[in-house]
Point group: C2
Chain length 253, copies 2
């Protein structure tokens, strides 16, 4: 089983759009996928089409009330399961403050379901706090969406520093890779910026880049992952490419 965090404290860089649609495309290639929404904004829950009355237990219950993770996922489409969140998740940081082992609560909860899925994808909030720490401690890999902006590069040092520090302190290594998002091929700015990302990441970067595509926004508004909304769109093509790139590495993992 592969556990992959989609993480970047920069807001609006496409974390949720990537987490939902990558999960969707992996499921389309017959992998059993669990998408975990770790953001109190619950955007991944909304974008997957999960309504309030469909939520029995949510991620707050797992992290604070010791509810087993197995009882939380909603099977939205074949092979595509979602562990939803509510705004209550914003209370986790305070609830767990000071407790021993608060950074590994999610890792331990995931242990119970590790034979049930091929992939677990974690959508993180736009901050480096306890929820993101839990995601990183639980993951063996991290996808870092990078929007085309100087602001994304500015925050990178802090994110990569956090991952490195975690590796030194806890001996837990994470293979991270960048994926360019919100790429607009009409502007020179995007092409120049792509070079900048390559300078920072070198070969720790996917060859897939995610283009700006309004169908991705429309799909989210319709509460549908892209493969259930428009398989003819550029958005679907890009996320399917990304899924194929990830699947191609499977034998090595």
């Amino acid at each position: 089983m592969r556990i992959i965090s989609v993480v970047n404290q920069k807001g609006g860089c496409g974390k949720t759009t990537t987490a939902v649609n990558l999960s969707d495309c992996l499921a389309l290639h017959h992998r059993k996928v669990l998408l975990i929404d770790l953001d109190p904004q619950s955007n991944a829950t909304l974008a997957s089409g999960i309504k309030d009355d469909e939520i029995n237990k949510c991620m707050y219950d797992v992290l604070c009330n010791k509810v087993p993770l197995r009882s939380v996922p909603v099977e939205k489409y074949p092979n595509f399961f979602v562990a939803p969140s509510r705004v209550t998740l914003s209370a986790v940081e305070q609830f767990l403050a000071g407790q021993q082992g608060r950074e590994t609560v999610l890792r331990d909860a995931i242990q119970q379901v590790k034979n049930d899925f091929d992939y677990i994808i974690l959508d993180c909030p736009p901050s480096i706090g306890l929820l993101t720490f839990n995601a990183l401690r639980a993951s063996s890999e991290a996808i870092i969406p990078i929007e085309m902006s100087c602001f994304s590069i500015q925050g990178l040092g802090r994110l990569l520093g956090t991952i490195e520090l975690m590796q030194e302190r806890t001996n837990h290594t994470i293979a991270f890779r960048a994926v360019p998002t919100l790429f607009d091929r009409r502007t020179k700015y995007s092409w120049d910026f792509l070079d900048e990302i390559r300078r920072h990441f070198g070969d720790r970067m996917f060859s897939t880049k995610i283009h700006t595509n309004v169908r991705l926004k429309e799909a989210a508004s319709a509460g549908k992952p892209i493969s259930r909304f428009d398989t003819g769109s550029l958005g679907f093509f890009d996320y399917d490419q990304l899924a194929k790139e990830i699947i191609a590495e499977e034998p090595k993992i």
Copy 2:
């Protein structure tokens, strides 16, 4: 003096782009403006062109080490002052945890400079935590940037609820208004979404809408507010409109 927070916990909705370029355009209209960067990501500091060696004191010093706010601002352009932040600002929440009056530290710090400026603009991080609470308690007005996405609407309830709760608990009222950002007039999605925002905000909405314009990204990369980068751009036109709308209300305030 008017103190205006630019606030929305949704990531990437244009808070920093709005805070920097609105401050810039107000300064162009001969208002004396202080832009305070309250985000540990320090994007507003970068976008205003402030380099690390130009920073003497920063907002962490004001909030945690009782350094007077008056000693922090850097005058970047005539009438345009910036109180920079560094990543150290992320330690504020822990530093002030449990302290009496931790939500009004910024309000009290601003008191010292209230006769020095016509406008104080606060750029907030993508979360509703102590830094955003400090901004709201210090402000009489709030600008809520709304990007064209179903995710923005989902988080609104929490933000408006926080403002209301604050008003009830502390008797501190904030006049909030939405400004549509990242509006792409080529897509039907944006036009439909504009109607959705109107339904939520009614007359609590600026008539200006900020269009997607790559010159705003390029300006930020160049470390320049838009009026110092390209006064012929749509981005400058939009933010100048917004500044004029805000200035037009002055006699009433």
